[in-house]
């Protein structure tokens, strides 16, 4: 008997400093790679939208020469479409221009067509047509704090967007400005950083100004989110009203990545880096750390990972898929990409020697969408 046909395939999109690579797999062990797409442009953001029975890959692309844009593909990268007038552009009167798209976030299944984006300069955008055209969120853009938000080393950006199932509760994280929350679907915004430290400021506990690197929501506990800060790993159980440290047990409280399980309460992943003066995996030993109890304890996961790795993993260079068990993926600034089909217990190297990996996104798609994939009988 030959290979068993599967109904699902896996797509892994890898955005780098010099282009996009796309990989497909039937088992999350062997991968077929295409690319580079958008050669000589950086790809800092990717969204894979599996709603509406398709696999739409949306990418933020930025050329040093020709500027930023957003393109999408509905055929796994065989062809790309770019709206003629641009998907994301500041309206007249704002006197601002998009520098870089940092985040493309397809909303919930219940809101097909809604896609959020975060950009530099700090701004949040919302599309209702599947990511082809976005509208500037004026509530955040016109916020009186905006002039006081700063730029992290990578730029001043809204880099994390989390929307709860009802759609009313939206959290945004920005560097540097911290976490902001809207309770009215994005109309008005308030800082929600109580408990998150900003040790680099005169007041280490300011209302806003924190350098939050990434936030992610617990998929099974309403109101619970996790944050990887510039030093500090935190959890909130009350929608951001109060944050508490969950860094105990980690080898370092610095890092960029924060991932959560697609279904299971209390499960999250981080990839610690030693900082500020080093910014490499502690002692050069690369490991993912997973908690299954909402941050009370952490498990070191390094099977298949090099114990001599001196490159950082950036905030969006990691992803989980929605399979059972969930897959975990990440890439390094040294151009290595790793995949785990079992929630981080074992990793294999998918690619090596790529340019700096800026963004990784993985998704489960119908095998019928993947050329060459086995089709169920």
């Amino acid at each position: 008997m030959g290979c068993m046909a599967t109904e699902e395939s896996y797509v892994l999109a890898i955005g780098t400093k010099k282009g996009l690579w796309l990989a497909t797999s039937q088992d999350r062990q062997a991968w077929s790679m295409s690319g580079p797409h958008f050669l000589m442009s950086e790809v800092p953001s990717i969204g894979i939208d599996t709603r509406n029975g398709r696999a739409r890959i949306m990418v933020g692309v930025r050329s040093e020469h020709w500027g930023p844009t957003v393109a999408h593909s509905d055929d796994l990268g065989a062809t790309w479409t770019e709206p003629e007038q641009g998907a994301i552009k500041f309206p007249e009167g704002t006197d601002a221009a998009v520098e870089r798209i940092w985040q493309i976030y397809p909303d919930a299944e219940s809101r097909p067509g809604v896609v959020w984006a975060g950009a530099e300069p700090i701004s949040v955008w919302k599309s209702t047509d599947g990511g082809e055209h976005f509208e500037l969120n004026r509530g955040l853009w016109d916020h009186p704090h905006r002039s006081e938000w700063g730029a992290g080393y990578g730029g001043a950006a809204a880099h994390s967007i989390v929307v709860n199932p009802s759609g009313d509760n939206v959290h945004v994280a920005m560097s540097t400005g911290g976490v902001y929350r809207s309770l009215d679907g994005g109309t008005s915004w308030e800082p929600r950083n109580k408990g998150i430290s900003a040790y680099f400021m005169p007041d280490p506990n300011p209302e806003f100004g924190q350098c939050v690197h990434k936030i992610a929501a617990d998929s099974a506990v309403e109101g619970r989110l996790y944050a990887q800060n510039h030093h500090g790993v935190y959890r909130t159980d009350d929608n951001g009203e109060n944050w508490e440290s969950i860094a105990e047990g980690l080898p370092a409280d610095f890092g960029f990545v924060m991932l959560t399980h697609p279904r299971r309460a209390g499960t999250a992943w981080v990839i610690p880096l030693k900082a500020d003066g080093e910014r490499i995996p502690p002692d050069g030993k690369l490991a993912v750390h997973r908690t299954d109890d909402a941050g009370k304890t952490w498990k070191r996961l390094d099977s298949g990972l090099p114990q001599g790795e001196y490159n950082a993993v950036l905030r969006d260079a990691a992803s989980v898929d929605s399979a059972e068990p969930a897959g975990v993926y990440f890439g390094t600034r040294g151009g290595s990409v790793y995949a785990s089909p079992d929630e981080g217990e074992h990793f294999t190297e998918v690619a090596s020697h790529l340019p700096d990996v800026l963004c990784v996104r993985a998704a489960v798609v119908s095998a019928a969408l993947v050329p060459g994939a086995p089709v169920p009988a």
């Binding site: 040093e64 020469h65 020709w66 500027g67 007038q85 006197d95 601002a96 221009a97 998009v98």
Partner: protein
């Protein structure tokens, strides 16, 4: 009436239907900004590669009129005479 020619670098030619030179009829001088506005009507994606949404020329896009880069002249207000050639070249930079 004489044409003004806009010479495109190879990397941008796919955004202009594969053309390497775009021509605009002119019976007098026009500004570089006017020329780029004209391009935007026919080739909006090409126009977005050259200028951002505020209308500013992108940092590493260089436009030459009669051999001079427009930032050393009057920028987008630089006038181009009928019959002249405008050349667009990207900076040689980056690793």
């Amino acid at each position: 009436m004489a044409d003004i020619s806009v010479v495109l670098p190879g990397v941008l030619q796919p955004l202009a239907g594969g053309q390497s030179i775009l021509t605009t009829p002119a019976d007098g001088a026009v500004t570089v900004g006017f020329l780029l506005d004209s391009l935007a009507g026919d080739y909006p994606v090409l126009a977005r590669r050259l200028r951002d949404e505020t209308g500013a020329l992108r940092r590493y896009v260089n436009i030459y009129v009669n051999g001079d880069e427009v930032r050393r002249l009057q920028g987008l207000e630089t006038e181009v005479a009928a019959g002249q050639e405008v050349v667009i070249i990207q900076s040689v930079a980056g690793g």
